[in-house]
């Protein structure tokens, strides 16, 4: 199944990078390729890969090439909050485009908590410099949630809370990308009882649009695809109502899953070691969250299309969903309440109790009426 993306939205959108301000000359992607001695053929191949990755149709290729030839590489500031940095682990495994290509040639990554070699005061000073120099023109990539409890002391770097850093960096950002379920929705640390008050970044960026790229972690190619879209076209990709790029989050796993025919036929694995599981049947009864999860696992898959959790035999846990961490257990469709069991058990119990209650009430009503009539008759006599 394919996502419908309005094909020319990429060009129609208002440009987000401020023009007018004279910046120092920065390379375009083509110039970067030239400097590294790559052939034109190589460059065009790269553009084809990018085009399809961004979910655009092939007639957009000329636009992509044009952008790659002329657009200066965008400056990216990449900051990390309340998280495990697993998203970075995913990002550096991007194959098309190679993460190294993105970092080294396609974007100018000026500041990154995790990938930068520099550290200490000069590093922090460099951040301030970058923000000033490219004010209104850089892309802000955010990984990790905001910690809101106790003035944000649970997540600090460089002597400041992450909230402070985020607000500072967001002010001058041309576009903000929230990488991972943490920065989109709060993440694992936001699970009940959420001791650190972890929350998504949306409400801490001064009302700017946040491009949400949820997932725990997001698919590598999705991460690079989104930043490349912003970089090349200077526009926010088409987003759904929740702020997620349509081309990657427009379908449920369930509606793109290759095991779907087994679901429709009613062929379910009951256990992870039964015949159905070995035969590759649907994992619905093992708690699969594919039916309510929006992600590209079913079509792009992971690690150069090698596999994805369901293909490897594990039920989807809905890692790109806004509240997946509190919707356990992952192994069943319905939560259970201790000895009471799940709602089907409780409901059946409730129905049985209602039945018994009804019979009891009926008997009592009859007795009451008979008493009343006896009284009345006595009265009449």
């Amino acid at each position: 199944m394919c996502v419908e993306v309005e094909e020319n939205t990429a060009c129609k959108n208002v440009k987000i990078f401020k023009e007018g301000r004279k910046l120092e000359k920065r390379e375009s992607l083509w110039e970067a390729y030239l400097r590294r001695g790559f052939s034109r053929r190589n460059f065009l191949k790269g553009c084809v890969a990018l085009t399809s990755l961004m979910g655009l149709s092939t007639d957009m290729l000329s636009k992509v090439v044009e952008a790659a030839e002329t657009k200066p590489l965008p400056v990216v500031i990449w900051i990390h909050g309340h998280e495990c940095t697993g998203c970075d682990e995913s990002f550096i495994r991007s194959a098309a485009p190679l993460a190294s290509d993105v970092v080294l040639t396609s974007i100018a990554l000026e500041y990154d908590h995790l990938l930068s070699a520099a550290c200490g005061e000069p590093f922090e000073a460099h951040l301030d410099e970058t923000i000033q120099k490219y004010y209104g023109n850089y892309i802000l990539a955010v990984e990790g949630a905001v910690s809101t409890k106790d003035n944000g002391v649970y997540c600090m770097s460089g002597g400041h809370t992450f909230t402070h850093l985020l607000q500072k960096a967001a002010k001058g950002a041309a576009a903000i990308i929230a990488y991972g379920s943490c920065s989109a929705y709060g993440g694992i640390q936001a699970a009940k009882p959420n001791p650190t008050g972890s929350s998504g970044i949306e409400h801490f960026v001064g009302g700017k649009t946040v491009i949400k790229v949820p997932g725990c972690p997001p698919i590598p190619e999705v991460m690079t695809g989104v930043v490349m879209h912003v970089a090349l076209f200077g526009t926010v990709p088409p987003l759904d109502g929740d702020g997620r790029p349509k081309q990657f989050y427009g379908n449920r796993i369930h509606d793109t899953c290759y095991r779907r025919p087994f679901f429709d036929a009613g062929m379910f694995a009951e256990n992870y070691d039964d015949a159905g599981s070995k035969a590759g049947w649907c994992l619905y009864k093992l708690g699969c969250r594919g039916p309510e999860t929006y992600n590209s696992c079913g079509n792009i898959r992971w690690y150069q299309g090698m596999s994805y959790p369901i293909q490897s035999g594990a039920a989807c846990i809905g890692c790109s969903n806004s509240n997946f961490w509190d919707e356990g257990p992952f192994s069943t469709r319905l939560p259970a309440y201790g000895k009471l069991g799940d709602v089907d058990k409780i409901g059946a119990g409730l129905a049985a109790a209602t039945g018994i209650g009804v019979v009891g009430h009926a008997i009592a009503s009859v007795i009451q009426r008979n008493n009343r009539e006896n009284l009345l008759e006595e009265h009449e006599e």
């Binding site: 379908n251 036929a265 309510e292 009343r372």
Partner: protein, 230 residues
């Protein structure tokens, strides 16, 4: 006591055919929706049979659920139309009238067997509250149901019309939970409702059950809310 035949009775025309047809569509479709709904959450075990030859494929169960859902939702038009054209098809309990509350308490006390009887009504205020409650639950089922249904293509009109339900509930899984939990509440209502209807017929001399077929109640007493029909 006088023989049943000798009692003088008056006919009250209450339910329009639209409401009656709607009621029976609703009752039948809710049973279908409930059974197929539970089967969707916990599909029958196909391991022991050759799935190709089973009739109860997941696809079929879901299609039956969706068909019943469409019929049910469409039939609500009958209810609304009846409400517009017929005074007897009252939709809302008259909570804006002061006597409503004392009457509700009286009926409740009687049902708790603490009072020997309550004043007669065409439809007593407690029952009318329970129907309003049922319609609220039905609204939840329809909203959550279509929210799940249409999100296989979120950017179509249907997705845009109902997608906000998932946003409000926080996640689409929560939509499933709510849909499922409320389904059980509806069944509990139905059980109680069935009992109360039959009870009213036999215990209180209301011609209750037949009224949902004929639209009329033929009563020996004068109900308190008879004026609402005028």
């Amino acid at each position: 006591m006088k023989a049943e035949k000798d009692v003088k009775r008056k006919e009250y025309y209450l339910f329009s055919p639209f409401l009656r047809i709607f009621h029976w569509i609703m009752a039948s479709q809710i049973v279908i929706l409930f059974v197929t709904g539970l089967l969707i959450t916990k599909p029958m075990d196909a391991n022991s049979t050759e799935p190709t030859f089973t009739l109860m494929s997941m696809d079929l169960v879901r299609d039956i659920h969706f068909l019943a859902a469409f019929i049910f939702t469409a039939s609500l038009i009958l209810r609304i139309y009846g409400f517009i054209v017929n005074k007897g098809d009252r939709l809302f309990p008259r909570v804006w009238e002061g006597h409503f509350y004392s009457e509700t308490v009286e009926v409740a006390l009687h049902y708790m067997l603490l009072k020997p009887h309550h004043a007669p009504f065409l439809r007593n205020p407690l029952a009318r509250m329970s129907y309003a409650g049922l319609y609220a639950m039905v609204a939840v089922e329809i909203l959550t149901g279509f929210a799940m249904y249409f999100m296989n293509s979120p950017f179509t009109t249907g997705g845009k019309l109902f997608g906000w339900v998932n946003t409000i509930l926080g996640s689409e899984m929560m939509t499933h939970y709510v849909h499922h939990y409320v389904a059980w509440l509806i069944i509990v209502f139905a059980l109680g409702h069935l009992y109360m209807v039959i009870r009213a017929e036999f215990m209180e001399g209301e011609s209750e059950v037949s009224s949902m077929f004929s639209g009329k109640k033929i009563l020996a007493h004068t109900p308190k809310d008879a004026n609402e029909l005028e």
